[in-house]
């Protein structure tokens, strides 16, 4: 409606926080108050996500997955992480349907059974949407701990399907991919949130 509303300093931030998920307060590292043992977390007001950027990042993640990785071990499923990210941050834009569609594209590429990735991505997408109100109150490291089981669920779903139709046991190192993915979570969230952290107009004297 009004692009100007971010620029007008009249409305206090707290009210905006109630208005939309995009204005929700985001945690960062705590800052200690000198002389006390107390601290507080300064919270950024994020700009709204650009839908073009959302879809471009998802397609970029798909492209990274399509690179000829061959049998290199411990390559994480970047598309799954990106889907989880947008499911958590923009659940109204990127939902279970999008996850399903990207899963189908992965199935065609990876010579897998049709629907294998689609099911895995549907499950993690549901998990992410269920967690999305809770997860953002944690710092990035703790968020990664939430993301790890989600990625593991996707891998277990793939594993169960393939073992059912008679696949080969891929070895324990297979589950390491989820671990690498969780480790990458802070980096990926930082990169994907960067455009929203950009100030509307640069002002050296303003703290935000």
């Amino acid at each position: 409606m009004s692009t100007d509303s971010t620029r007008s300093p009249a409305r206090p931030a707290g009210v905006r926080g109630w208005l939309g998920s995009n204005f929700a307060l985001r945690p960062t590292d705590p800052i200690e108050i000198p002389g006390t043992r107390m601290g507080y977390r300064p919270q950024y007001l994020l700009r709204p996500a650009n839908p073009l950027f959302i879809w471009a990042s998802l397609i970029a993640a798909l492209v990274i997955n399509l690179l000829p990785w061959g049998r290199t071990p411990l390559v994480p499923d970047v598309l799954a992480i990106t889907l989880v990210f947008w499911n958590i941050h923009q659940p109204r834009r990127v939902g279970i349907g999008a996850a399903f569609a990207f899963g189908l594209l992965m199935d065609v590429h990876e010579a897998a059974l049709f629907g294998e990735h689609a099911l895995a991505y549907t499950l993690i997408s549901y998990g992410a949407i269920t967690l999305h109100r809770r997860i953002l109150w944690f710092p990035l490291g703790a968020q990664a701990l939430h993301v790890f089981p989600l990625l593991l669920i996707a891998q277990l779903a793939s594993l169960a399907i393939r073992m059912w139709v008679g696949g080969t046991w891929p070895g324990w190192i297979y589950f390491g991919e989820s671990g690498v993915g969780a480790v990458l979570w802070p980096l990926i969230s930082w990169v994907l949130l960067a455009p929203q952290r950009r100030p509307t107009d640069r002002d050296e004297t303003r703290p935000l």
Binding site: V63, L66, P68, G70, G103, V108, F114, Y126, T168, P170
Partner: protein, 296 residues
């Protein structure tokens, strides 16, 4: 939209309902794909959409390869080498068959007459990439339906059989390697003509010669070639050498482990043999014989 309030009442379909719907759809797709094999056309169609992207993504690794080539040798030498490799490669099929022919000729002289031997049409293919699929051993090569490749065509290299085309797209196709757990190939021990069927091995990168009696005449170092009785693989192609034979009295069968002759892990060029579908229908003659008798 982003500046407006979130819809408080009209939230759309609940996440749980969506989960149920899409999981059901995915499971239905899995079942249809694994049991009925009805989705091949859909897959080929989506493959056409993804193909330009896949090719573009191969460019970086190709460029890296080319640069590496340039630094290891002079460019012209590389090209010449490549041509020679190709030529040698195209001749390799007849070479492999010739080796077996010599042995078989000797045997046949004692028995019957020579058997008719089929020369196969073939297309040369480059390996595009190895599938990232961690549950199966598959390669993707750069020839497809448009080059006459069909699902089922055998794939060889200069050493021996590599595998079989399991899925053909318009421009690319998937090769399932012999070492894949679900892959099987009828073989014959070159030394004594003993026939058997080799399956992808329990250990990675090996083949198992299953269902051989504990006293079967197979020893370490025996060479197994295709027997040709399935009508898919032409006979006489090198498959594997026996690397280990275990005979336990309590087991019904001997445990025979073979290692593939072809450079299954390290191939750049492959040869796809175009087997005609007519030759696949070999058992028809056997069925037709008694019917003739009945008519008379």
């Amino acid at each position: 939209m982003d500046y407006g309030p979130p819809p408080l009442f009209n939230q759309g379909v609940s996440a749980r309902a969506r989960l149920a719907f899409f999981s059901f759809l995915a499971i239905a797709l899995i079942i249809i794909d694994s049991r009925v094999r009805m989705l091949e056309t859909v897959r080929v169609g989506l493959g056409v959409v993804l193909y330009p992207m896949q090719r573009a993504l191969l460019v970086p690794s190709r460029v890296a390869d080319t640069v590496a080539d340039y630094f290891t040798s002079v460019t012209t030498l590389t090209r010449e080498n490549e041509q020679l490799k190709r030529r040698q490669f195209e001749a390799s099929q007849s070479l492999q068959q010739a080796r077996e022919l010599a042995v078989e000729n000797e045997r046949l002289r004692k028995l019957l007459g020579a058997r008719e031997r089929l020369g196969n049409a073939a297309v040369l293919a480059d390996v595009l990439y190895e599938s990232r699929d961690r549950f199966a051993r598959k390669l993707v090569i750069n020839v497809g339906i448009n080059d006459g490749v069909r699902a089922g065509s055998p794939v060889i290299d200069d050493g021996g059989v590599v595998g079989q085309i399991t899925r053909a797209f318009n421009e690319t196709s998937e090769v399932t390697l012999l070492t894949d757990k679900d892959q099987s190939i009828p073989v014959q021990i070159l030394r004594n003509g003993l026939r058997g069927v080799a399956f992808g091995g329990a250990e990675p990168g090996t083949l198992d010669l299953r269902f051989m009696a504990p006293n079967a005449d197979v020893v370490d170092g025996d060479v197994a070639t295709t027997s040709g009785i399935d009508g898919v693989y032409p006979s006489g192609l090198m498959v594997a050498t026996v690397s280990r034979v275990e005979r336990a009295a309590k087991d019904q069968f001997a445990r025979i482990v073979m290692s593939p002759v072809a450079g299954i892990e390290s191939n750049k060029h492959l040869l796809v043999l175009l087997v005609e579908p007519a030759k696949l229908a070999a058992p028809a003659a056997a069925v037709a014989a008694p019917r003739k008798g009945a008519r008379k």
